[in-house]
């Protein structure tokens, strides 16, 4: 438990409001893991591959929460890059997006997404989703070290 609650969670989300909502949901569901936020795909990739401004930050996340609709490099590309890299591919990637398009869903799973969750419109739904997420990934599932 301890090890899991120490794991860094990477949140890739461009929308301020959505990020604030997510933080709030984390707080309410008691998910106290450290969090790092990237606002677009390029920033996320820089963090993951220790490039540019993250060149000296050697941390790697234990989980990635990924929005698809991002300015510039989008979530699909981040997902593909992560799942094609042998060091990063074991990191669970949870796609968290507004889209419920079947094409988007199958494309994400085909690229190696571990879970695909549509952002619920209501905060209650959103909070519930985050709680289940926490239960499953941080209490039931066994993750690689």
């Amino acid at each position: 438990m301890n090890t899991k609650s120490n794991q860094l969670i990477l949140i890739v989300e461009d929308s301020e409001e959505d990020y604030e909502t997510l933080e709030r949901a984390f707080r309410k569901s008691g998910l106290a893991n450290p969090v790092i936020r990237c606002c677009d795909g390029d920033e996320a990739l820089d963090f993951l591959f220790h490039r540019n401004e993250f060149a000296h930050d050697q941390r790697l996340p234990g989980m990635i929460l990924l929005d698809l609709n991002l300015p510039g490099t989008d979530g699909y590309e981040v997902l593909e890059k992560v799942k094609m890299d042998k060091n990063l591919r074991s990191i669970p990637v949870i796609v968290l997006t507004c889209s419920s398009d079947p094409g988007d869903i199958s494309r994400c799973y085909a690229s190696g997404a571990n879970t695909y969750i549509q952002k619920p419109v209501s905060f209650e739904g959103f909070l519930q989703a985050i709680q289940r997420l926490k239960e499953y990934w941080f209490e039931i599932a066994i993750l690689p070290r």
Binding site: D14, S15, E16, E17, C39, D40, P71, G72, T73
Partner: protein, 619 residues
């Protein structure tokens, strides 16, 4: 040469025969004359001899008168001689063609003062007298003897003279006969010459001509033989070529995927290739000689009767016109309709129209494909329209509750703001900001959908004016930038409002995504291969190559929401829509840190009224 050779040869030969006969008579006469002369001269010589003998015998008788035996014999001989002399004289004088005929001789005989004739008679008489005298021994004084003795010498002299005279005239005769002979010879030569001239020469010429002609004929024959051989060879070659051509033609006909049939002027099938039999389902023998229209073209696709008089293919055949159609229907042997693309070409033989060649292909697949495409096109058109309509309706309808949220949030903030703490007010402000953002997005969507629905009114514009309008609508701080136009052909036909917006969007992007202290925009145009290519060039931050396509997607932003002045991410989508409405296209060339060039074309709006019409009729 009007007189025939036959006649001339007969005439010439007759003349020659006549000449020969004439010559014969001349020769004959000549011989006779010479013969006669010789005979007469001989006789004359003999007469002279007889005269001498008389004188001799007379003298003998004088000598031997004493001897009776001798004198008797001498007398006898004298008488004999005298008799002979007299007879001979008669013959000389009286014989026809005789010696005496010669005038000068005659003169000697009868007309000279002492006529020879009388002398001869006297001489003979004397001789006879002497011979018959009774005296046993005549004496020298005997009158007869005296007579003989005195007459002998003049007689002989005169006879010599006569003979000489005669010889002279005989000589003359011979000479004249010689001349005559020469003349005859000449005449004969002349005759021969004439014969040659009239027969042999023309004959020779004829022969020569004949042989010449023969030679020519022979030469001609040789030549014509050679020509014949050459002709034969050429024929063989032509036949070979024709055979090759025929084989090639057959191969082409058999290899052709399209049906090929030959029709005569009545529309009867005179040949058909393999593909034709395959496409029509009839074996070749059921096609040949059969009327094409009646068999294959008898009714329209809907089954109604199609008389041959109305058939355009048949009309084209009869008039020697070519014809092409892809709307005809032939009937397959199994009764199914066969939509065909048919071409009819007139067929000529020796420049005479004899019929036509029909080439037809089965276009049922093409027709089906066309139907599918048309169906898809219609479907696409419909769904596009529905999408536009949906966006339009959705934008309108979405805005209504949005306005409600916005308004009620405002009311709450205004009326109860004092009861809220800092965080509560921040939440409400975020709510208002988000409703505003939502409204902007909906407005953008509405505007975008309007661009697809609005009438495309095309007018002649000047790029300078359009650019001025576009700059005019810039915000104050953006107006400091340098925007210049470098266009040789600023006239263009377009929708004024849309192109102003297009330019505005590109210029705004060029200035917004620009970290340069001296921001500059260049608008220009170049003549492309088909149409004018316009461009808007900036010295901004540039666009990574991997995003150069996605930038045209609606609401797609390359940067964070509030970076570079924010925005909905619809500017380039609207640019693209405007360009596409004009029938043009838009693309970008960019290098990071150096700037971007957006190129666009606007189709050929001014020159193609139809395109304008069809674009208008879309709505």
């Amino acid at each position: 040469m009007s007189i025939s050779l036959k006649f001339r040869s007969v005439a010439a030969l007759s003349a020659l025969a006549l000449l020969t006969v004439l010559n014969y008579f001349i020769q004959n006469y000549h011989t006779q004359t010479v013969d006669n002369d010789a005979h007469l001269l001989n006789q004359a010589g003999r007469q002279r001899m007889l005269a001498t003998r008389v004188a001799y015998l007379s003298s003998q008788l004088l000598l031997y008168g004493d001897e009776p035996a001798a004198s008797g014999e001498i007398r006898q001989r004298l008488l004999q001689t005298a008799k002979e002399m007299a007879e001979q004289h008669d013959s000389l004088v009286h014989e026809r063609h005789g010696f005496i005929d010669d005038l000068s001789v005659r003169h000697i005989f009868f007309e000279a003062p002492d006529m020879l004739d009388q002398k001869v008679h006297a001489y003979v008489a004397s001789a006879r007298g002497l011979a018959n005298s009774r005296s046993e021994a005549p004496r020298r004084g005997d009158s007869y003897y005296a007579q003989i003795d005195s007459l002998e010498t003049p007689l002989v002299e005169m006879m010599d003279r006569a003979v000489m005279q005669y010889e002279l005239s005989a000589d003359r005769r011979i000479k004249s006969l010689h001349l005559f002979e020469i003349a005859g010879m000449l005449v004969q030569f002349a005759g021969l010459f004439a014969t040659w001239l009239m027969i042999f020469r023309p004959m020779g010429l004829r022969v020569k001509q004949y042989w010449g002609a023969q030679d020519r004929v022979n030469a001609d024959l040789v030549r014509s033989n050679m020509a014949l051989a050459a002709q034969k060879e050429a024929l063989a070659r032509e036949k070979e070529i024709a055979d090759n051509l025929r084989q090639r033609l057959q191969a082409i006909l058999d290899a052709a995927g399209e049906g090929i049939t030959g029709l005569d002027l009545d529309g009867n099938i005179i040949f058909a290739n393999v593909a034709a039999t395959r496409l029509l389902g009839y074996p070749l023998e059921q096609l040949l000689g059969v009327n094409h229209h009646q068999l294959l073209h008898r009714s329209y696709e809907d089954g109604s009767a199609f008389p041959q008089e109305q058939c355009l293919i048949h009309a084209a055949i009869v008039e020697g016109q070519s014809y092409h159609s892809d709307t005809e229907t032939f009937w397959h042997a199994d009764g199914t309709a066969l939509p065909v693309d048919v071409v009819s070409m007139p067929l000529y033989e020796h420049s005479v129209l004899v019929g036509a060649v029909l080439v037809f292909g089965d276009i049922s697949r093409r027709k089906k494909a066309e139907e599918v495409i048309q169906c898809t096109m219609r479907e696409l058109e419909r769904s596009n329209r529905e999408l536009d309509d949906f966006a339009y309706i959705a934008s309108h309808d979405l805005k209504e509750p949005l306005r409600g949220i916005h308004n009620y949030s405002s009311f709450l903030l205004e009326d109860h703001g004092a009861h809220l703490d800092e965080e509560g007010r921040r939440y409400l402000e975020t709510l208002l900001r988000l409703t505003q953002r939502m409204e902007t997005l909906v407005d953008t969507l509405l505007h975008y959908s309007r661009l697809g629905r609005a009438r495309l009114n095309i007018e002649e514009c000047d790029l300078n004016e359009l650019l001025a309008e576009a700059i005019d609508s810039l915000m104050i701080q953006e107006k400091h930038a340098e925007v210049r136009l470098t266009c040789q052909h600023p006239r263009l036909a377009c929708n004024r409002v849309m192109v102003v917006e297009l330019l505005h969007n590109l210029i705004v992007n060029g200035l917004k995504y620009n970290e340069n202290t001296e921001k500059s925009i260049e608008v220009g145009c170049n003549q492309g291969p088909k149409e004018m290519i316009y461009y808007v060039k900036d010295n901004g931050i540039g666009i990574p190559e991997k995003h150069q396509e996605s930038i045209f997607r609606i609401f797609k932003r390359l940067h964070g929401r509030d970076k570079y002045g924010g925005g909905t991410g619809a500017g380039l989508t609207i640019v693209k829509k405007i360009v596409e409405r004009h029938g043009g296209k838009v693309w970008v060339e960019s290098r990071m840190g150096e700037g971007s060039i957006f190129y666009f074309t606007l189709g050929n709006m001014g020159s193609d009224e139809h395109q304008i019409e069809s674009a208008d009729s879309d709505r």
